[in-house]
């Protein structure tokens, strides 16, 4: 049990570093770097916790991205900036790199394999990885967009502004 938690935390830590790396690439304001680290951490921890309880990786990614989207709304309010500045770098660590890579390798092989049985095997490998990559990506984008759509305004600032 302890091992699982430590593994989860180390994954979260590195996901945070990945998120901050992309945030720097996207030139975010300096004050948002620490919240982005936390958001990326939370997203990956939620995702892997879901997967530990045997929820499929697509749904787990969607739930993780939704968590990021919700916390990004609060971060946007606290650290002044549109939510997308916080949420996009934070979900990038959840992008299904390995699946997309396997799909690419599968395509490369498909173009050269001659033997029929081998072809079927490679085809099923490629399509299963490719579909997973595609649906995870859609789940991530939808998960990030969902909290903003539920808030029904383009920014949390608008809601505050209307109250006053």
């Amino acid at each position: 049990m302890m091992n699982i938690i430590l593994d989860l935390l180390s994954k979260g830590l590195w996901a945070g570093i990945a998120g901050v790396g992309f945030a720097i690439l996207f030139n975010v304001p300096l004050r948002t770097l620490i919240p982005i680290w936390f958001l990326a951490c939370i997203g990956v921890i939620v995702k892997f916790t879901c997967m530990h309880f045997e929820i499929g990786i697509i749904t787990a990614s969607f739930i993780g991205a939704t968590a990021v989207g919700i916390f990004a709304l609060f971060a946007a309010r606290k650290y002044y900036g549109p939510p997308l500045v916080f949420s996009i770098p934070s979900v990038i660590p959840m992008i299904p790199g390995a699946f997309a890579y396997n799909m690419m390798l599968g395509f490369i092989d498909l173009s050269t394999v001659v033997d029929h049985d081998e072809y079927i095997r490679v085809l099923s490998f490629t399509s299963s990885n490719g579909l997973k990559a595609l649906f995870i990506l859609m789940g991530l984008a939808a998960g990030v967009a969902l909290p903003m759509l539920l808030a029904r305004k383009e920014s949390i600032k608008q809601i505050e502004h209307n109250k006053n």
Binding site: G21, L84, G97, A98, L105
Partner: protein, 259 residues
């Protein structure tokens, strides 16, 4: 309002166009651009009608009595993600409402935002290198794989920046970066250590993934800006294709049999 000088109308329109095109090229979603420009225009006492596309922005300025004042189209400069500008303009649009900013102040702020520096180049290279090392860790790579992924990313991103500086086609820049990064990661096969080349290779090109175009694409589609959503999605797909082509080239060079 009626005796507004002609130059004033032109100035207001141009400022709005400038703000909108900066937002578009810095990676804001279509809905956000529309809301932000409307907010600025309303704060200055005008109404606007907009047509927002991926590479051009068209505006019509209307005064409160519905009289047409000004129309113009502006081309949008090539896209490069810069969230500092997006954040700054959105922040500014609220200041304009709250503190009743004048046009000169808005222009000054836009110029300031445009001239804001990026992070130092070395910091970007190292941070993105560590980002890919993080990816590598999370798909189960060990220390060696992480180091290889870091080095490959560092050099790959350097190559991309150099070609971008020389104004190559952006997709070709991505292709060359993917080729360099995957080539370097693949070279780790010749190191006499127990290294899972697969994992280093898979994560060494992840710094190129078009995260912003793809996520903005889905956001636009959900918001109902279907045309822009499709365009952004296809842009993301072409970038992915360029990455795949880079990997494919490496695969051919090393005769990869990884399946």
């Amino acid at each position: 309002m009626k005796d507004l000088r002609k130059e004033d109308k032109i100035n207001i329109g141009s400022t709005l166009l400038e703000a909108g095109s900066l937002l578009m090229s810095s990676g804001a979603s279509t809905m956000r651009i529309r809301h932000t420009m409307n907010r600025i225009a309303n704060a200055l006492g005008y109404k606007i009608e907009l047509m927002i596309t991926h590479r051009a922005l068209s505006i019509t300025l209307i005064d409160e009595e519905g009289e047409h004042l000004f129309s113009r189209i502006k081309r949008i400069s090539p896209h490069g993600v810069n969230f500092r500008v997006v954040s700054g303009i959105c922040h500014m649009s609220w200041n304009i409402i709250d503190d009743k900013w004048s046009l000169e102040m808005i222009n000054k702020e836009l110029n300031r935002l445009k001239s804001l520096p990026h992070y130092p180049r070395l910091l970007i290279l190292i941070a993105v290198g560590f980002a890919d090392a993080g990816f590598c860790h999370n798909i189960g790579g060990g220390t060696y794989e992480m180091i290889i992924s870091l080095i490959a990313t560092f050099i790959g991103l350097f190559v991309r920046q150099e070609f971008m500086k020389r104004k190559f086609n952006p997709y070709i820049c991505v292709y060359l970066a993917a080729l360099t990064a995957s080539f370097i990661a693949c070279c780790s096969r010749f190191i006499p250590l127990d290294i899972m080349t697969n994992k280093a290779l898979a994560t060494s090109v992840l710094f190129l993934i078009p995260g912003v175009p793809l996520i903005n694409s889905i956001t636009d589609l959900i918001d109902g800006n279907i045309q822009n959503g499709i365009i952004r999605g296809i842009n993301g797909l072409i970038i992915s294709f360029a990455i795949a082509l880079g990997l494919l080239t490496t695969g051919l060079i090393f005769k990869l049999q990884l399946l």
